[in-house]
């Protein structure tokens, strides 16, 4: 469904991605792992057209989307839920979600309020009045309201209290049941491996490894050595 072929991308003036290639199949959840600064966020932003793709091509649904303006990529069915949780703080929760809604989306506002019970009670509050976790859920709901064919999720559990992490995990499982195509950037390895079908590991702007969930679970060291402590 999505193919990245030898992407070079820049973060400001500095080159953040060096020839990154991978693809995502329809209905698949792909986890993008790597340390801070490895280029995960830049990859998502490059797909979305927010960062310039200097070389290489991004194909989505058979057509080249690299070079298109962001709103056209969005209209083609790609949705980004950024790690910065860009809630519109002056809009109510419901308005936030409605703003994302596009006709024909299977995720109607009503259904989303159903899926995210925790935000249903805040639907008339302003986005800015929510806690970090509530905002995260709201922004995910807003992304889903667009009825995306491909959802880009950037660190949805980052900095959240455990109860909220669980709520995010539940939503991810729901997406998995819906067979939605997702690229998930996640530092929480357990959460990533819970839902992902496949894992791609970035290090210093290079895709250094790609493996299935089974392989990752079988050989955790292979993943962990790129990520942290040891």
């Amino acid at each position: 469904m999505l193919t990245l072929s030898s992407i070079d991308a820049y973060y400001g003036q500095s080159q953040a991605l060096h020839g990154v290639s991978f693809d995502v199949a329809e209905g698949e959840i792909l986890a993008l792992l790597g340390r801070n600064g490895a280029g995960k966020t830049t990859t998502l932003r490059a797909i979305m057209g927010l960062n310039r793709v200097a070389r290489g091509v991004v194909r989505f649904d058979g057509r080249v989307i690299s070079g298109l303006p962001t709103h056209k990529i969005a209209r083609a069915g790609v949705t980004l839920v950024p790690e910065t949780r860009d809630a519109f703080s002056l809009l109510s929760v419901e308005e936030n979600i409605r703003l994302g809604y596009r006709t024909g989306s299977p995720y109607t506002v009503e259904r989303l309020l159903e899926m995210f019970p925790i935000i249903r009670e805040f639907r008339l509050k302003k986005g800015g009045e929510l806690s970090g976790g509530q905002q995260q859920l709201m922004v995910m709901a807003r992304g889903l309201a667009m009825g995306p064919k491909l959802l880009l999720l950037d660190e949805p559990s980052q900095g959240l209290a455990p109860i909220m992490v669980n709520a995010v995990a539940e939503v991810l499982s729901a997406l998995r049941r819906d067979r939605l195509t997702v690229i998930l950037v996640e530092q929480n390895l357990r959460m990533a491996l819970d839902v992902a079908d496949r894992v791609v590991i970035l290090e210093d702007g290079v895709a250094v490894d790609a493996l299935s969930r089974a392989a990752a679970l079988a050989d955790p060291a292979r993943v962990e050595k790129h990520l942290a402590v040891h």
Binding site: Y11, S14, S131, G132, Q158, Q187, L189
Partner: protein, 250 residues
């Protein structure tokens, strides 16, 4: 051996943004001459802690002691003049200026306590210019002397960032992810650089690259959700359960 002197101390430091408490009652002591690493997942509040220590942000609660003096209410440039130098996570080099100018500004500050001069061409402040060239040479950045910062690679900008911080000749050095966004080779260079200055300064460093942290730091503190969850030697930390859980959710 006598206990080393504490040069910088945070007491119950707290910072809130709206409803989110980003730094939540953090108390830490930084002894003189040691390299202290701060770890934690994204959003743990590490950079905010730095911003509080350098007074880039006003403090919502708690105190900061610098060599025993209460500095909680000072302004950023006053903190800087008391010998606290800092580098930023997002490169904050002056992109429109050359390497020379960037480092010169830091050296000049160290040389010159009063108001900046306003007649002689800044390049003609020979002593400062000489020191500037020295710092650039030490970090192997001479070839870039007259290049605009915007025109070089990210890695070289990161090195410039450190050069600028060193040129202020601080006693306490706060490095915010000095290797972020660098390639393996570049971050090895930075690591060697930090090793070479270790011991001359008190260094506090936010870092994600475990190999860097484990190889060079004396003490490690791990933060998560605004709180300190573990402190100790690198070896202790690498096996700490709370840390593994914070990182991997295991």
């Amino acid at each position: 051996m006598a206990e080393p002197v504490t040069v910088l101390e945070a007491i119950e430091l707290t910072k809130r943004f709206g409803k989110n408490t980003v730094v939540d009652g953090v108390s830490l002591k930084f002894p003189e001459g040691r390299l202290h690493a701060i770890l934690g997942p994204n959003g743990a509040g590490k950079t905010t802690l730095f911003n509080l220590l350098t007074k880039d942000y006003p403090v919502d609660g708690g105190e900061i002691l610098l060599r025993g003096e209460r500095v909680t209410r000072l302004r950023p440039h006053q903190i800087s003049r008391r010998g606290v130098g800092r580098s930023y996570q997002i490169t904050s080099v002056l992109r429109e200026l050359t390497f020379f100018e960037n480092v010169w500004l830091a050296s000049y500050r160290a040389d010159h306590a009063g108001a900046p001069g306003l007649w002689r061409d800044f390049r003609a402040h020979w002593a400062t210019a000489e020191k500037t060239r020295q710092v650039l040479a030490e970090l192997g950045l001479e070839p870039f002397t007259d290049r605009k910062a915007a025109d070089v690679s990210y890695g070289d900008q990161r090195l410039l960032e450190i050069a600028v911080t060193l040129a202020t000749r601080p006693e306490i050095l706060l490095l915010d992810e000095p290797t972020s966004g660098l390639s393996q080779r570049e971050s090895e260079r930075v690591k060697q650089l930090i090793l070479s200055i270790k011991g001359k300064f008190t260094i506090i460093m936010i870092e994600h690259k475990m190999n860097v942290v484990m190889d060079i730091s004396d003490d490690v503190t791990v933060m998560n959700r605004g709180k300190v969850i573990a402190s100790g030697s690198p070896a202790q930390i690498s096996t700490d359960a709370a840390v593994r859980s914070a990182y991997f959710g295991l």
